[in-house]
Amino acid sequence: MKYLWQLSKLVKRECKILYKNPIYGFCMVLFPLFALLFFTSLMDDGLPQDMPVGIVDLDNTSTSRSLVRRLDAFQNSAVVASFPSVAEARRAIQENRIYAFLYIPEGTTEKLLSARRPKVSYYYTLTSLTGGSLVMKDLKTIATLGSAGVGQATLRAKGFTDKQIQTFLQPIRIDLHQIANPWGNYNMYLSTVFVPGIMMLFLFLISAYSLGMELKFDRGKEWIHMADGNAVVAILGKFLPQAVVFLALIFSYEYYIYEVLEFPRQGSVWMIVLLAVLEVFSSIGFGIFAFGLMPSLRMSMSVCSLWAMLGFSLAGSAYPLMGMDEPIQALSWLFPLRHYYMLYQMTVFNGYPLIDAWFHLVGLVAFTLLPWFVLRKIKNAMLTYVYIP
């Protein structure tokens, strides 16, 4: 009962702090919402559409022009310019005007008709991997279709049926199933990791910041005394209001992506709730631990921001962890975002049983319990340290 009374007083005090300092409002509500809007609106198309592609058509026949028209009709590519030579088209890539170009040499149609196997080429840049590989896919399809068109005409002339022609041109068909994201939509793929990652960054920073501010404005003693010297009560009272605000933020994010933008998910609502709770408490746990290790506002915040930024790479969502060196694969266990991402993709995105992701669940719980090791150090710091700017 005594603890509850202390807790309620601490919670009231913390709410007052959160309300008075506008920086909390910015970091706990405005900035995360900005990140949410940024990523979801940036990739609203799902896949980049109508990326600029050039043409070097030295053949200039109805056949070559129909290839160009078909390329233009593809979803990802738009033919924006035609160049008189390969050198100029390459320069256009270097000037950032196009991502790729299709080169049709002189005499292509003539050779095609006389079965002399002409060769077309396509050039593309992979300095932007997403754009380059999507444009490459379209160009490759066009080149393959060119072959198929000739085969189709020959077979028709020989009197085969359409079904026979299809079988001859493509004896083995690949029946692709893109589980859980059948559109290959990048928004659903990237926003669901980067937005929670940015929220995690703010959870880390605000946890360390709010502890550091107690020291900076010399309120630490008052804070510990309100809890009667009990560090557990003090920490709980301080971080419960923050956790509630962040939980509300994360639930509004989940509502926005699943109900408004209608991202697909296979897992249940309860998995989403569990994941949100784990995300908030593990990140706060990490923030408190970082501050406990080095009770200086500046150092702990630097460590938190560097850790959170590295987490985006080591989560292994854009570039898979299996492609990294073994020591880095082991290091990734130290990043809450890695565990979050694995839990999310296994239980919410793909809807697999939670037991298969037990390791990452344990990981996040472990981060939640980390402050236990530094409770005494934090209390000691609050009672004895003096803030040096």
């Binding site: 609106s41 990326m51 950032n96 060769k119 199933h177 703010f202 930024m309």
Partner: protein, 418 residues
């Protein structure tokens, strides 16, 4: 005589400001972390993370219900490809799915019972490919390998069926129109080679802004009235302050910038096509723009920690706005407009094209022009905000002086009354 003397004095004052700022930078460990340690170590760490560039041998599970020579050939060819490794065989889809669920494999190849029968009957055979879409790169590896193998086997089937006489006829039947696939820049499709150049340029801007912000925050907190500009005869005009301070940051970042743009790519064998002169001509406006941008931002924050809360999280959106992760042509116009505010947008674009794509200076002229405009605009902005800070500290000083004078007169009146 007197004008030249004044000019010399002006330079001396600026040099004094520069010396004070240098001292502050190298004595403040918070600033040192962002000016020296992060730019030195972060690129190395990132390069290590991405040094394998691509993923190979993605594990898949095969369900071979056909159990025929053709299906086994398909599996062998997939396994022999560089990108896919057949790690498991499963009896049915449920078995295979539980392997995906346990993250042991990233995809499933299902070859149905009638696969070989249909092909031998001259009907279309089907292979079902199920991909775990949580990772785009593994999805591409699993799907594209199956596509390539099916096309290769298909070509063999076509030539067998068409009853040609010569090898040349076989080739023409399978592919009447030959094509060549040429990746001009970053030909191996490396993830690190595509993302890291932009990251390096971004690290330069972010650490510079964070460092300047922290230094300004410390200066404010050390000052008695919380002012950024101290009352000192050398700090008496905006020009001297801005010149002295920017010179200090410029000197530190001349070294850091050279390390980031030449040493790091050299250490990790990233593409390096730009000549030293071109690189220098691009980096000068970029670093200048970053310095003045950082000085402008540093005046907006009250406490030293706030700059961290503001600047760290924008790093990720800024990386996306450079057009590396998400193609520039697909960025909505509103966000394109926002991206013009930040030097990193144009810096990264110019650097990638010079260094990874071997462009000439005239190819990146628009970006260079934007960088110079930004440098000039942020220089103006820095002068304006520092002018404001200067007036504020003068006002605080005057208020204090008035207060002291009033105090003295009151005291004198009191003593007279006695």
């Amino acid at each position: 005589m007197s004008t030249s003397h004044n000019r010399f004095q002006w330079l001396l004052d600026a040099a004094y400001v520069w010396r004070q700022e240098m001292k502050r930078v190298f004595r403040d460990e918070g600033v040192l972390i962002f000016f020296i340690i992060v730019p030195l170590l972060y690129p190395l760490l990132y390069s290590w993370v991405y040094n394998n560039e691509t993923i190979r041998e993605v594990p898949v599970v095969v369900i071979d219900q056909s159990r025929s020579a053709l299906s086994r050939q398909f599996i062998r060819m997939c396994d022999a490809s560089p990108d896919v490794h057949v790690a498991y065989y499963a009896e049915d889809l449920d078995d295979a799915q539980s392997l995906v669920s346990r993250q042991v494999v990233k995809g499933i190849y299902l070859i149905p019972k009638d696969f070989a029968t249909r092909i031998n009957r001259m009907e279309q055979g089907t292979v079902s490919v199920y991909c775990d879409m949580a990772l785009m790169l593994t999805y591409k590896a699993v799907f594209q390998t199956a596509m390539t193998v099916s096309q290769q086997m298909g070509a063999a089937i076509q030539t067998r069926l068409s009853g040609n006489y010569t090898h040349r006829e076989d080739v023409i039947t399978a592919q009447p129109l030959a094509y060549e696939d040429i990746a001009l820049f970053n030909p191996q499709g490396g993830y690190g080679s595509s993302v890291l150049p932009a990251v390096l340029i971004l690290i330069l801007q972010q650490t510079l802004v964070l460092g300047i912000g922290l230094a300004a925050g410390t200066a404010r907190e050390r000052n008695r009235y919380g002012d950024l500009v101290p009352i000192h005869k050398c700090y008496n005009s905006v020009g001297r302050i801005v010149l002295g301070k920017s010179l200090c940051y410029l000197m530190v970042y001349a070294v850091i910038g050279a390390y980031l743009t030449t040493a790091v790519p050299h250490l990790f064998h990233f593409p390096q096509l730009a000549s030293g002169g071109n690189l220098l001509l691009m980096m000068i406006p970029y670093v200048l723009a970053c310095v003045f941008f950082g000085m402008t931002v540093s005046c907006l924050v009250r406490y030293r920690e706030n700059v961290m809360l503001l600047m760290v999280f924008v790093s990720l959106p800024l990386l996306f706005l450079t057009g590396v992760s998400w193609p520039q042509s697909a960025i909505p116009p509103a966000w394109q407009g926002v991206s013009w505010l930040f030097p990193s947008t144009f810096g990264a674009r110019a650097y990638i094209r010079l260094n990874s794509m071997g462009a000439s200076l005239s190819d990146v002229l628009p970006e260079l022009r934007f960088l110079w405009i930004q440098a000039a605009a942020y220089f103006g902005a820095a002068c304006l905000v520092y002018g404001h800070q200067l007036r504020q500290s003068h006002r605080h000083a005057h208020e204090r002086l008035d207060y002291l004078r009033k105090k003295r007169t009151v005291r004198q009146q009191l003593s007279r009354r006695k």
